[in-house]
Subunit: 203 residues, 2 copies
């Protein structure tokens, strides 16, 4: 007697279709870009009928929100991985490098995440999934950890939005090909971002 696991010839009851759909969606996004990311295509790739996803997501928007949540977890992991074990300025630089690296390694996913009107990710209660603020929270923690001795006293509150906006902007300009590290004499992204962070912190 079969248990609750996926099986081939069995058309009904996939096992964990919800998770499978998110995974397929990310695969399509990374290999063929957002234009190829259709509901029917995702279902086809998951081996189910075109209407099956609607048992798990009430709309495409909902599925894309779940994709963004998944991507945001990776994103946070990428930042944390680069900052792990470091202190102060190096911690902050690590976060920034992890941020940019994620954008460059997963451009379509990052674009989806960063270009999505916030209103489209609100749940039924009108709340934004809390994970979506993790990047900002990390930036705040990085700034709190960094000794920003050159900064004026009164405007310290501006550090966070500036840092966030800056690294977000740099990520976008890089993945759109509008700037590149080489343009400014750097061999790789890490060197480039490290210089930017140092510059931002007035070192």
């Amino acid at each position: 007697m079969r248990i609750n696991q996926t099986k081939g010839t069995d058309h009904y009851h996939h096992g964990d279709l919800r998770r499978a759909l998110i995974g397929r969606a990310i695969n399509i996004l990374e290999s063929e870009g957002e234009a190829a990311l259709t509901m029917r295509r995702i279902a086809r790739d998951a081996g189910v009928s075109q209407a099956a996803p609607y048992s798990h997501f009430k709309s495409k928007k909902d599925l894309l929100t779940a994709v963004c949540v998944e991507g945001t977890v990776w994103f946070g992991d990428s930042m944390k991985a680069r900052a792990a074990g470091k202190k102060g300025l190096e911690y902050l630089a690590g976060l920034a490098i992890g941020h940019v690296e994620f954008a460059l390694e997963h451009p379509a996913l990052f674009r989806l995440m960063s270009t999505r009107p916030i209103s489209q990710s609100l749940d039924a209660q009108g709340n934004l999934p809390e994970i979506f603020n993790e990047g900002y929270q990390l930036m705040l923690s990085g700034l709190a950890a960094a000794p920003l001795k050159h900064f004026g006293s009164g405007e310290r509150q501006l550090d966070a939005p500036i840092a966030w906006a800056q690294i977000y902007g740099i990520s976008n300009l890089l993945i759109e090909g509008r700037i590149s590290p080489e343009t400014f004499g750097f061999d790789n992204v890490e060197q480039f971002v490290r210089a930017l962070v140092g510059h931002f912190l007035h070192l």
Copy 2:
């Protein structure tokens, strides 16, 4: 005998359909957002058949590129208007304020312009319409005009991408509602952006 101007009862030869389509597209974008911006809707609003736009644009992508070009002209004007007659730091701050103001006044258009993969705006020869670099060029001129006395000598080259990325990021965070001037104790966008620019320049 009728001349080459638009006329009502005459179904053929609109007059300047190309320009009309761009205008209608921008109207729809600003009033109802990108989701409502379909080829058929644009044609309907312009009073022509669904296939008529294809005499002037070979695809929707092409029409949207033209919309972006138009928007980019406005965008440059908005920056220049705010910087006009000013010098040095005030000139730079004016550019930044004009940038953010444009984004807030035309959020859907700005989003279209800024989230469009660069590859989709290349012409047949693979060139980006030169207008798309105007924002960056303005920023460069603003930085050249500003006395950045606190900046280190070796990394001066980084000023431009940093300034560009920063104001671009701020614009995006503002129109997505992820930050607001009030959060940081400012009454309006101008005050907020002025403080950000000052902060960026280490004043």
